[in-house]
C-alpha cells in the first residue's frame, strides 16, 4: 500500500508545459532570421573580408552593430533550440542526454555573449566617418 495520495501521484506527471513556447520561439526567430541572414550574407559578399580596417569600419558604421547583435541573438537562440531537439531525439542514454542538453545551452550562451562582446568592442573602439 502506498501512503501517497492520488493527487500526489499525478502531480508533476505529463509534459513540462514548455513545448508551445519552444515551438513558437523557434518560429519567431526563424522569421527574424530570413531578412537578418540575407542581409548578413549580402554584406559579407560585398566585404573585402581579409582587410582588418574595412571589416571594423563595416561592423561599426551606422546601424550595423545593432543588426549584427540582433543577428547573433536570433541565430544562437534558434540554433540552441534546434540542437536541443536533435539531442533529445538521437541521444538515447538518459545521463548522456541531460549532459548534452546542459552543454548545448551553456555553449550557446557563451557563443552569444562572446560574439556580442566582440561587436560592441569593435563598435566602441572604431571611429566611423559620419
Amino acid at each position: 500500500m502506498s501512503l501517497r495520495s492520488p493527487l500526489g501521484k499525478v502531480l508533476g506527471r505529463g509534459s513540462a508545459k514548455q513545448g508551445v513556447s519552444h515551438w513558437w520561439v523557434q518560429r519567431v526567430t526563424a522569421v527574424a532570421l530570413v531578412p537578418l541572414t540575407l542581409w548578413f550574407v549580402f554584406q559579407l559578399i560585398h566585404l573585402p573580408t581579409a582587410d582588418f580596417d574595412s571589416v571594423r569600419q563595416w561592423a561599426a558604421e551606422g546601424f550595423n552593430p545593432v543588426l549584427l547583435i540582433l543577428l547573433i541573438g536570433a541565430m544562437t537562440w534558434h540554433s540552441a533550440l534546434g540542437a536541443q531537439v536533435v539531442i533529445e531525439d538521437y541521444v538515447p542514454h538518459k545521463g548522456a542526454k541531460v549532459a548534452a542538453l546542459l552543454a548545448n545551452n551553456l555553449l550557446h550562451v557563451v557563443i552569444a555573449v562572446t560574439a556580442v562582446y566582440a561587436v560592441l568592442r569593435i563598435a566602441f573602439t572604431t571611429f566611423t566617418a559620419g
Partner: protein, 129 residues
Amino acid sequence: MRQRPLSPHLGIYRFAYTMATSIAHRASGLVMSAGLIVLTWWLLAAATGPESFAAAVAVLGSGLVQWLLAAWLLAFCYHLCNGLRHLNWDLGRGLEKEQARRSAAVVVAATLLLAVLFGYVAFFAGVPR
C-alpha cells in the same frame, strides 16, 4: 519507467525522398551551429587587433577552410529555402503528400540556384562597391 518508442523510429517507413529533405534540414542546421563558433572567432579576432585578425584570415583563406565556407553557404541556402517551406506548413498550407513532394523539388532547385549565385559572387566574381 517503461521504454516506449520515441519519435524517430525510422526503420518502419518505406523511404520517400521527402524524408531526405527532412533530415537534411537538421543536418544543415547543425552544420551552421558549428559555423557559429567560427563566426564568433572571426568577430573576436577583429575586435582584438590586427595580428589576431591576420591569423584568423590566414586560416579562413586556406584551401580546406574555403571548402568548409562553401559547405556553409550551401547549408545556409538549403536551410533558408526549406525553412520557408516549414513556415508555410506552419500556416497549414501545402501539407498534402503531392504538394509536399512538389515543394521538396522546388526547395532543391531553389537551393542550387541560390548557392551557385551566392557562391559565384562570393568566391569568384566579387561585387564592385
